[in-house]
Symmetry: C2
Subunit: 232 residues, 2 copies
DNA sequence: TTCGACACTTGATATTTGTCAAGCGGTGAA
DNA sequence: TTCACCGCTTGACAAATATCAAGTGTCGAA
């Protein structure tokens, strides 16, 4: 892997604490690759040969069963995915595909596991990362089980607004069909859900969303830090 | 904590690899407590003061929002819960209540975190445990997003049957209202779902389930190791 | 033994969500 | 420029799921 990428990978919480020696050893076996959009990087069920780090672009994690499919998460720079499978040396539970042109680091899982055994600092960093991931999924689970689709959309918009800087108008960061899948509904229903939020001051123009009456939307959405805060 | 409980706690994957010294240090600050049924042990949003270990009985992890509530998991001996919150020193995302009379070890979270910083073996054990938990939630997420309630029930029965030893008849291990909540449906719909599985050879008598035609049920349920296997 | 609480069931009905088919509008290639 | 494609929307309809209101049966306490 070209050394020019070392700093950005090294800056990740996962790698920042470990010794230079172990970091370089990990990077020696790694390589960087550019992928065009819509490439399936991994398929669920396959053995987990590499830990992946997204340097640029974005990656969709999804899963299929019995002819249906659903998006479970989107990975944006700079972060890793399929860490749990790598650690457990177990098959991937999700498939991954690039959404756009993406640059991705591939670190052999075996190297990650041996470094993890040898470097306590690295092991602890992995714990922190995994705990974060775990809590994110729990939140998603609560979102799905406790809220209707309209409520999920409303809260998603509030989260996205905050992520985009907090101003009333902002852009969705991926296409609506995928948003629908992430939120656990059909594209048709997402369309209707947007209309259902009009009475609360939400207007939509293509991918541009405007929240005209934030307090009103929040009264409806009832956002909750134990579901909607990404940090805690 | 009385030393009589040391061996069963020590036998947990989480604690089995660490040094005696660190283990005893952890146990010194811990204590064992007996709880009657239906006691709320922790409430979501509270700071995570203790890592919990269930020695006997069972514990329901649930969450509430806007007047609704849902069961997310059941913890059975011998295992821990709210590990992620303990590690991250973050508020609980779920509440916990005893389902029956239960004996539970409480280990101060601060002790867990400092031992985790000091003992690489312990840190690695935590990683393994967390990765396991993470993958379980991902599977639950896929179950919920990819399957109808009837399919979820069918697969649940097949999993439960396997857990109970594989014979055609077995008992549900908790009451139906809670099963409904775990499966993400109402008790009324669970009743109807059981009827809906009759054509596939499922009969119900109280908590006793009989699967008369397993291949037929499996043809309907399409169980998938990437959703239904607890081990991988 | 009787009574009441409670979990479970059942039926009728309402709401939510999905499906199918059609149309609209933008984009990119010929 | 034209046209085919594709994502999005809309409407009509169907299916899944929830809600409400009885009813049934069991179990434990008085």
């Amino acid at each position: 892997m070209p050394e020019q990428h070392y700093p950005e990978v090294r800056a990740l919480g996962l790698f920042s604490g470990m010794t230079d020696e172990n970091f370089f050893a990990l990077m020696r076996g790694a390589y960087v690759q550019n992928f065009p959009p819509q490439i399936e990087l991994i398929s669920e069920g396959e053995p987990s040969d590499f830990l992946h780090v997204v340097l640029s672009g974005s990656v969709d994690l999804f899963s299929q069963w019995n002819g249906r499919d659903t998006s479970l998460a989107t990975v944006r720079p700079i972060s890793t995915f399929i860490l749990a499978a790598t650690i457990k040396n177990a098959p991937y539970l999700m498939s991954a595909r690039t959404l756009e042109k993406s640059r991705i680091v591939l670190i052999p899982s075996q190297d990650v596991r041996s470094t993890f055994d040898a470097d306590g600092t690295f092991a602890r960093a992995i714990v922190t990362e995994l705990a974060q991931c775990y809590r994110s999924v729990i939140k998603a689970q609560k979102d799905l089980k406790l809220r209707s689709s309209l409520e999920r959309l409303a809260n998603y918009l509030l989260r996205q607004q905050k992520r985009a800087g907090g101003s009333a108008a902002f852009d969705l960061d991926f296409e609506k069909r995928r948003l629908a899948s992430v939120l656990g509904m059909t594209p048709e229903n997402l369309s209707r859900a947007f209309k259902g939020l009009q009475p609360y001051g939400v207007s939509v123009e293509g991918t541009r969303i405007t929240i005209n009456d934030q307090p009103d939307l929040e009264r409806f959405a009832k956002p909750n830090p134990l579901i909607d805060d990404s940090s805690t």
